[in-house]
């Protein structure tokens, strides 16, 4: 079966074959039994597909779509409500917190890997866990305050966020003092 004949079959099924070529197609099909069988198969598929029903959307779907859209718009609007300087301050504060926490985490990891003294390790772990608890409690307290003041006083919220690195710095100093006391 030639490619031209196959193309004519497809175009005939799609209703875009000219009358002249359609006549040529059917003349060819009368002479070629294999091509006629192939066309019958394709025609069968075409008939089945053409008879397929349209699925109707459930009644609630349009309402659901509008409700979801409203939610999406509301969520985006609440994000956009934050003034740019507040968002920048929040990002800067979080970056500083990460930077301040990094040495603590690294020194903890180094101790865990290096120490051969179980008593010292237990002591360091207890102190680290205690310190982390204080840090987390302090951060949560500050974040609660930030959330409370975010809408009515964003500048204060930004200032409170800036306290996070200061708090960590203060804690690290306290730890160093405690270490000196231990050594003494």
């Amino acid at each position: 079966m030639s490619d031209t004949l196959r193309q004519w079959m497809q175009e005939s099924l799609d209703g875009v074959l000219s009358e002249e070529l359609r006549h040529a197609l059917f003349t060819s099909l009368q002479k070629d039994e294999q091509a006629a069988r192939e066309y019958a198969r394709l025609e069968d598929v075409d008939r089945v597909l053409a008879s397929a029903p349209h699925m109707r959307a459930p009644r609630h779907l349009a309402v659901t779509i509008m409700a979801r859209l409203a939610q999406t718009i509301e969520a985006q609007a609440s994000l956009q409500e934050l003034p740019r300087e507040v968002r920048d301050a929040v990002m800067a504060s979080l970056s500083l917190v990460m930077l301040a926490t990094l040495p603590l985490m690294m020194s903890g990891a180094w101790l865990l890997l290096r120490t051969a003294d179980p008593t010292l390790l237990a002591h360091v772990l207890a102190r680290t866990v205690g310190l982390m608890r204080v840090v987390v409690a302090g951060q949560l307290h500050i974040l609660d305050e930030v959330e409370a003041h975010l809408h009515d006083n964003p500048q204060l919220a930004a200032a409170l966020m800036a306290l996070l690195p200061a708090m960590l710095e203060g804690l690290l100093e306290a730890v160093e003092d405690a270490n000196k006391d231990d050594e003494a």
Binding site: V16, A40, D44, V48, L49, A52, H54, M55, I65, T72
Partner: protein, 201 residues
């Protein structure tokens, strides 16, 4: 321009400005069209609902990129098509992972509340058979068939919706029909079995 076209363009213009009521009119007008496409592509009512929602949300946020000289319905169906194809590709990856798990020795339990294939066929024979046939096609072929048969789109309109060429669409339809014909010959419909003959024309 007809009155309905003018109204449609008005809704689109208002929706572009963020008017949700105007967008709601568009949603009500085209939910069935989008849902049908998603259903025929995904073959599952729940997934089709999710995909329809996602299509309209995307449309709302990209309304500014819509060119009013083109058909809004085609633009919308184009978004739905792309999303449905993405869903099918993700599903194929998940199915692949499942196959790997099963190959490792687990057995697939057939205890399910889903009705047996025969029951589905009896309940809605024609629709189920067509859907089963469609499910055998790759996403790119399936979408061409859906736009051709359910939306009566020309090669040019399908190519425009799928951002490809007319010759690519002709080729996809050609191959899709052949694949469907092969599947259809192997699994003849019940009505044809009852009539005791395969159609010869």
């Amino acid at each position: 321009m007809s009155e309905s076209d003018a109204t449609l363009l008005q809704w689109i213009a208002h929706a572009r400005e963020g008017d949700q009521d105007a967008f709601a009119e568009l949603v009500y007008s085209f939910t069935d069209a989008v849902y049908n496409l998603c259903y025929r592509m995904l073959g599952d009512g729940g997934e089709a609902e999710d995909a329809t929602q996602e299509t309209f949300i995307r449309a709302f946020y990209h309304l500014k990129s819509y060119d009013p000289s083109r058909s809004f319905k085609t633009w919308l169906l184009s978004i739905a098509s792309n999303h449905a194809i993405d869903c099918l590709r993700k599903r194929r990856v998940q199915m692949h992972s499942l196959d790997e798990t099963l190959e490792e020795g687990a057995s697939l339990s057939l205890q399910s509340n889903e009705p047996l294939p025969e029951e589905v066929t009896l309940r809605n024979e024609n629709s189920a058979i067509i859907q089963a046939m469609l499910n055998t096609l790759a996403p790119e072929y399936r979408i061409a068939v859906v736009l051709r048969y359910w939306y009566d789109y020309s090669y040019q309109e399908i190519a425009s919706a799928l951002n490809t060429t007319e010759s690519a669409i002709k080729s996809r339809l050609f191959r899709a029909r052949q694949m469907l014909a092969d599947a259809h010959t192997v699994k003849p419909t019940r009505s044809r079995l009852e009539s005791g003959r395969l159609r010869e024309s």
